[in-house]
Symmetry: C2
Subunit: 300 residues, 2 copies
Amino acid sequence: MPLLVVGSVALDSVETPTETRENVLGGSAVYFSYAASYFSSVRLVGVVGEDWPAEHTALLQSRRIDTAGLQVVPGAATFRWRGKYQPNMNDRETLDVQLNVMSRFDPNLPEACRRSPYVFLANGSTDIQLKVLEQCRGARLIMADTMDLWIRTQRDLLDQLLKRVDGLVLNDSEAKLLTGDDNLVRAGQCVRQMGPRFVVIKKGEHGAMFFSKHETYVLPAYPTSKVEDPTGAGDSFAGGMMGYLAEQGNFEPKTLKEAMAYGILVASFTVEDFSLEQLKRIERADLDRRMEEYKRMLTF
Amino acid sequence: MPLLVVGSVALDSVETPTETRENVLGGSAVYFSYAASYFSSVRLVGVVGEDWPAEHTALLQSRRIDTAGLQVVPGAATFRWRGKYQPNMNDRETLDVQLNVMSRFDPNLPEACRRSPYVFLANGSTDIQLKVLEQCRGARLIMADTMDLWIRTQRDLLDQLLKRVDGLVLNDSEAKLLTGDDNLVRAGQCVRQMGPRFVVIKKGEHGAMFFSKHETYVLPAYPTSKVEDPTGAGDSFAGGMMGYLAEQGNFEPKTLKEAMAYGILVASFTVEDFSLEQLKRIERADLDRRMEEYKRMLTF
């Protein structure tokens, strides 16, 4: 079933201890939609400037990703982000952000997008997320991401958003910030009581935790010795998770757990190279093979 | 099969953000042997001073733990440690260490102990660990723990030790320090190449990783919302793991993974209260119940 993602489309510059890449394809909506495309058709809504390379759009289109909602603004520049990873490849510093076209991002969704049964509000300004939500009246499943900036500056709006989404994904430090609780089990349960039916806390190299009314569990990350660039891991996780849910068409606890696992595995490929390079090399069959290994790892 | 542990026996003072406990029962050999006692008979070798409360020895004896090797030195004081946990309950600061009798700890093992088929060299000075190893010629399985202090100050001796033990357990920051590699998957494989047949990296609230020649896997921690005092979690993990191995009497990959899981679960109880308080309340059946839950959590 069609899956809509609304979020950032970016040109990233990434510095790791060993390498630097300039102006590579990035952005939350891009990682999400590529990850989801292994499972489901995807509609991407975002905005870019006239500096946006047409080949990036072509790449997305090559993967069942509908880019009709990707607006190109003449005379403007694409959102740019520059970050630097510490040697542990987990902590990163944002060196520069040029919002450019993103500063006026206020999407008016195409009619087809408004009828999407699955909707992901990628990390972005909470007021914009709420405006998008207003336009998606008939969705079966709405999930959202957020970050420290919005938790600090748009808390009232975020509280409204949390009451209206089915699922929230956020990372461990954000969950602690949102709840003031340093214990992630309590923090996850606390966020869930703010509204969403389920909450996922992303722990980077340590995996992800799931919280619903009746279930609390944690799944480890797939242990990879090759971490080249963690950028987009969280959005790839969400894309893999929602893509699988859209493919399966149900929200049984078992399906949700499988979706979490697929999210973890797509992300494990994402980090193995810069930008979308590793995802471009793999097929659904590679994910299924890693899933078999992952299940074996967790069986005893 | 009997399991020997040689390590510290201590009176700990622990400060958490909400509570402080003074001079409670602690020490690596104590946590290890209590954790192992759910599965196996245990022989404890350590040293205490004349300030050692007899009730602590009685408690250990009540759990199939042979304390014949617990030496009481007249006119001396027991090893004392004082630590303070940060609000995240993961990072801690050592506020004070009084080695006391531990400064002259150089055990001459009772004959029965020397014939133990399972031996754990708890964290301690590497030269002493090597001397103990010399006395345990017929062991079927020898495992050791170490820490940053010995990695920095006794690296040559540690290299010798690593060539002579079957298994090494150490925590994530120690694995990074020992190998100079920030990627834990590579670090674990690298430590294994230093000698041990298998290596376990403890990740605290994030679980543990296992490395052998043919296997690399990670198991998450059991998600507990109640973390009162993480002291002794690592030693409880090792005790649960080795206790189960001693009970089962084989080193099949499946047994090793089950042993890892039991180690994780004993540790999940340890952190739920100060000192051995929570372990004193549980039985093997509680571990087995949590094991069922844990397996369910990892099945999909």
